[in-house]
Symmetry: C2
Subunit: 789 residues, 2 copies
């Protein structure tokens, strides 16, 4: 797998080099073609990364998960009473509870809305069809879908472009330390909720699973900061949460709550967050996310019990388990290993093919979307039209099948919005198998295709039509400007070929065809998303058949292995495509051949500050650089015994945001002296410093003030992580990622008078394989040579 | 929770100080009492740790999970062809497969043996009882149990003391980086298998779960090194695995396979390894452990299918799911929240009480065990006698209940080795409810107490007797010298009070009493072991009732929270008791007030070597120190431009084992010169260096050789992780643990001529809270003051 991800990176790089050095903006619309990357960067190690956020290119910032151990923090920590500590712990759990509660409520709301809107739409159309008014039915169906898509798309395009798509890649990047702008705001949340309802009710081939994950994280982020950006609560105790570390934990809770709400899979949700989304993990966090998902499960369960009595319109049929297949006993022979392996292989190959094609389609869509809002809208609406035409028209191609007389009359044929054997255009006593799959909500389609003990329900031809249609829709729907999840389209595609294989095996197999559909869906998920344990648990919780577990595990492992030998997972592809500076878990092998010293050499010299610094110098540095952290270096007047006066010492690292706050609050000294602890405490609190606000352009400093001094010591992080310049990039990257850093200082290997105690500073961008290869093209060659061996 | 673990550490420390400085051996048998620690250390930061391994005090070593980037490694890695890389990957997966396969086979073997031995024993005794020959039955029962215990105990005491107990704490320590001697050998494996069969068949109150985890890891370790210590295969490709990193991964696979084999819970096994056992985790490893457990599941499943046809004697009844309760539909009201909360609270309180009392009992047992082998044997045998007397005698106290006439005659009463309604001493048509619980194997007892739709089967009095008995047995059985697991005793205890509460709730509840028993068991597990997600999945896989999941989650969360407010988990307690230098996940808050420089100051000055060093000096250093790594410091003759000649540079770290190998292979130079790459490659390979063998005492160096030189550069790890001396201990510890280090170098903060480029070296022992507090008693005080606030 490592081999492949580097292959992937390589393709990008070569293209980059062909494109040459591009403009600052990073885009070069004229030369854009399908073979070129959407984002280009200068051929140096850049510290101002750009990424594609909702079809726009934005600057993005890194997050800081390191504890900033400066004097203020230490004092604050020492002076925190046990009551405050308890308050903090209590608040942490309260927020986790609220995240679960709200995610559960919103998920119920979305389900309720979707089931009712889509249900009444389908009922009305079924009415027209029953009266043989086919054209009227078509107009009503297409029109309703068109309007629903329009609502979703207009909201996404005009108010919150970041609400389009699933949002999972951005969440993954956030938890890796990349702050994508406007991702977790209140507007995004609202647009995502309404847009998701619209898009799913419109019958588009997309799910509400990805969006629910995003909704969960939005709720978490908003709760953590006490409300929307402009109106948030400024309670003192809430502001303890206004730091990157606590927000990260809360967002992890949100992500797992979202998955739990989507699939009603509490354990699967935790594992999804652990396996796919999170970069760092602590056992305390495992426990908190588990609490959140438990709350979601209880909320969902309560509403389902409530709605079972029919108080929620068309919503509420079916229990907590979405696609229950527990009514078949799983028995298998040695022979059954063959179809299981085949399903796994098909899943892997198709999954990676899907990833490959989706990548191409997304590039194409990006070009269309860049042209303007109206193009984005038109694209979405044409996909909606095409979908409606297919869903309505194709069932007419299928022949009517007679109902199995052993079934009760109420079960076959059905005309309601749910039910397995749809009557559609067929006479009484007959059903249209393709309509059972196409003329229903996506959830119901999955339920129908997973249905067990119905070996003859679906004609192979209908399954082929269904599979082909959903392959096309799955590729062309995902990139449009509405909130869309990937899970359901993949489940639909996968279940089709799984069930087809089941029919083909016929009497050679002991496994029910419904279970084949489940296995097919699992295999395509693994082939495309490359998860194992979490998918396994999610499928277990979706289908409630524990005896299927060993086969599911084997299918998932085969599909993932097969997929990994072609390309990376779909989320990684999207991350690359968007240009988000995600830091991979494993260093590339060639990184062992490069030292951080060599990396520092090609960067501009590091800008250091003195512990007692002139205001003018600080202003100058802030205005003329874009760095977010500056090493503080001192020549102590009174060095430790045995050292010459003027011996240089590394005092730590001071952050740009803290410098801006000093300037804003005008904490200046007339003379060049060290301050006392109480002086800084009068001006700043730890909570102030955690905020990341203020830009140097907003600060006005008078000429007199320019000549004054600042004592940086109390605000300096005295314990930044460091590496010696002879350290290999591979190991520096491991440190950077494992500890969750934003800045990593490089200290000299040689010990001598006159050597600066810090020779460089590394950031996320410097450690990314792609950037290093751009700056050191010879590594690219050595990499190729090694591969050629 | 953090609060508590520090409380725990504190108790230890104060006692240590009262005891004063003790002898080198670390024990002071005269003054041993229940209030004093079993292991004592000098009041300095010690680098020669002692731990209690199977009632003996042994020296233990740290493991090295860092990649040793020296010239040889780099060359080896560059010259590895893609075929070799593929071979390595293939081998990794093959080994994971073999671990799963062998664990599955051995687990089946153990199950088969236990079910048959215990089954025939119970059948014979039931025969005597049927003939009213009660005394004969008693003698037979007690005698058989005595003999079985004797076999298990003699094996453990004489051949493999490390096979006693569950082994999980030691595995946890291993994955944290602590190498416990003789833990994973072939003798241990064999004794563990036979001992476990003996102890479980003897009806002792212990499970085979912990031992199976240990068996899995033993298999993994033996496979990784190619066989037992003395006879292992020396195939070249297998020796690529002879390093701490790959062995760690394999042992993680073994641990999860073991849990999977114990509970037939593949996903639970992976999660158990992740949540409880492992310290570091990578997603690639998640996937490999998942593969191992999938293999185990398939093997178990195959054997169960095979044995269902009656070819395995008394083994093979029942399917893959051990304690199936899926036949009840879970319905619950808001009212049911009350018993759920109560069960959780009881579980937490009882669990922590159990931990507390078990701790006391284990201390007492340690004192007994120290007296000699015969005492260990006697202790085990007396526990066996007591258990037999109770199991046989107590059912006579219960009154006979008439069978429910709705049950078929074959179901009530039963006389076979399994079955729920045991006849025992009752007339036909009556059953003895206490005998259903006591007069059967532990697995069957759990199955019976979990049995659903049998609300009136057990009298509350019988449940009280059962609960009391198993509380006593659970406390006094665990520490005896046989392989013993903690899971089953806790499940038995917990299910008893769960079911009792269920009866007490009577008609106020909708939840089946069998489910109350399940919840009780889960709550006590969480209260004692403090796991959440993995327990939840294990219980799901054990009982196959997905609808129970939300309540299980809540019970687990409450029980864990309640337990954590009293004391740490049982595994942590055992780790402390054994003195294993486990590195906690979180630094203590007071560690932020201490710098690594202060820590280095109280240690003896660091011993450095030069890049070109005299043999005499190396021999001297190796003989007179016990350090396992030495920084290499050079005054380069040709320093980089701008530096004075003689500028000192930190070249890296060389390991003791590599120095010993240099001396053994006599790779000496006549003159003081740098060697070429081919010279070192002629003598050493990367695979040689990975072996951790050879002691300085075995090396003979002549007087002439003493005057020769060694070029250490090619064997030096050029990229050791470093921290600046002003770094706080808290952050250094995070780095140490996250990256998995054995040595962490401290570099100076000041940059001046004459300063050594390395001022100290930190190891695992230096970063342990207990050791630091011993050396810095004032931190202890500040800690107390803060707590008092």
């Amino acid at each position: 797998m490592k081999e492949d991800s580097s292959q992937f990176a390589e393709t990008f790089t070569t293209e980059d080099m062909e494109g040459g050095i591009t403009n600052e903006n990073g885009r070069d619309p004229e030369s854009n073609s399908l073979n070129q990357p959407l984002l280009k960067r200068n051929r140096t190690l850049s510290s101002s990364p750009l990424a594609l956020i909702g079809a726009k290119v934005s600057h993005i910032e890194s997050l800081d998960y390191e504890i900033n151990e400066n004097d203020l923090f230490k004092h604050d920590w020492r002076s925190r009473s046990s009551v405050q500590v308890l308050q903090y712990i209590f608040l942490k759990w309260t927020l986790a509870f609220l995240v679960g509660l709200l995610t559960g409520l919103i998920a119920t709301l979305i389900n309720l809305a979707v089931e009712n809107i889509a249900g009444f739409k389908l009922l009305a159309v079924a009415g027209f069809i029953e009266e043989k008014r086919y054209l009227m039915g078509f107009i009503y169906f297409t029109g309703a879908n068109f309007l629903l898509t329009l609502v979703a798309a207009v909201l996404c395009v005009c108010f919150a472009p970041t609400a389009a798509g699933p949002g999972i890649p951005e969440i993954k990047a956030y938890l890796n330390g990349v702050d994508t702008p406007n991702m977790f705001g209140a507007t995004t949340l609202i647009v995502k909720i309404i847009g998701s309802i619209g898009a799913v009710s419109a019958g588009l081939d997309l799910g509400k699973e990805g969006p629910l994950v995003h909704i969960g994280t939005c709720i978490a982020s908003l709760l953590g900061q006490g409300g929307p950006d402009n109106y948030h609560l400024r309670w003192r105790w809430l502001r303890y949460f206004n730091n990157d570390r606590d927000r990260r934990d809360l967002i992890t809770c949100g992500a797992s709550s979202g998955v739990c709400a989507a699939f009603r899979a509490p354990v699967g949700g935790v594992l999804f967050a652990l396996e796919e989304v999170a970069t760092w993990w602590r056992s305390a966090l495992l426990w908190r996310t588990f609490f959140s998902t438990a709350v979601v499960a209880v909320v969902l369960r309560a509403f389902i019990e409530y709605c079972n009595s029919g108080k929620c319109g068309l919503f509420g049929k079916g229990g907590l388990i979405m696609f229950d297949v527990s009514n078949v006993t799983v028995k298998y022979h040695v022979m059954d290993i063959i179809p299981v392996v085949i399903i796994g292989l098909i899943g892997g190959v198709l999954g990676s093919l899907y990833n490959y094609l989706l990548h191409k389609v997304l590039r194409l869509y990006s070009l269309i979307n860049q042209k303007g809002k109206i193009y984005k809208l038109l694209l979405s609406l044409s996909v909606s039209l095409f979908t409606s035409v297919c869903l309505y028209g194709l069932p007419f191609l299928a022949t009517c099948s007679p109902c199995d007389p052993s079934l009760p009359e109420s079960a076959c044929p059905t005309t309601g919005q749910t039910g397995n054997f749809k009557q559609f255009n067929c006479p009484d006593g007959y059903y249209n198998d393709l309509a059972s799959l196409l003329f229903s909500t996506n959830d119901d389609a999955v339920r129908n295709i997973f249905s067990t003990n119905t070996p003859t329900e679906f004609h192979p031809l209908s399954l082929v039509i269904f599979f082909t249609l959903y392959c096309i829709l799955g590729l062309f729907t995902f990139g449009i400007a509405v909130p869309s999840g990937l899970f359901l389209p993949i489940i639909l595609m996968g279940s089709a070929y799984g069930r087809l294989l089941g029919s083909a095996m016929g009497s050679y197999t002991n496994i029910d065809q419904g279970l084949y559909a489940v296995l097919g869906a699992a295999s395509l998920m693994a082939g495309s998303m490359r998860m194992t344990v979490s998918l396994c648990v999610i499928f277990l919780e979706l289908t409630n058949n524990l005896l299927l577990l060993p086969i599911t595990m084997i299918v998932l492992l085969i599909a993932k292995t097969a997929g990994d030998s072609f390309n990376p997972s779909i989320y990684e592809i999207i991350l690359h495509l968007k240009g988000l500076p995600f830091l991979e878990a494993h260093p590339e092998p060639w990184m062992r051949n490069l030292t951080v010293g060599e990396l520092a050499d090609i960067k501009p010299a590091v800008v250091t500050l003195h512990g007692l610094e002139k205001v003018a110098r600080i202003v100058d540095v802030l205005r003329n650089t874009t760095h977010n952290g500056f090493p503080v270096v001192d020549d102590d007047m009174v060095p430790p015994a045995g050292l010459a006066i003027g011996a240089m010492a590394l005092k730590g690292l001071v952050l740009r945001s803290h410098l801006v706050q000093i300037l804003k609050k005008k904490w200046f000294l007339q003379e060049r002296r060290r301050t006392e602890e109480w002086e800084v405490r009068e001006k700043f609190t730890w909570v102030d410093l955690a905020e990341r606000c203020g830009r140097i352009e907003e600060v006005a400093v008078t000429k007199d003030e320019m000549e004054m001094y600042v004592d940086l010591h109390p605000l300096t992080n005295t314990t930044p992580y460091t590496v010696v310049e002879s350290m290999s990039v591979a190991k520096a990257m491991v440190l950077f990622r494992e500890v969750g850093l934003r800045h990593l200082l490089i200290v000299p290997q040689y010990q001598a008078a006159g050597v600066s105690p810090v020779v460089g500073i590394l950031t996320r961008q410097d450690l990314r394989a792609h950037n290093i290869l751009t700056a050191f093209p010879h590594l690219e060659k050595s990499k190729r040579r090694e591969k050629g061996n």
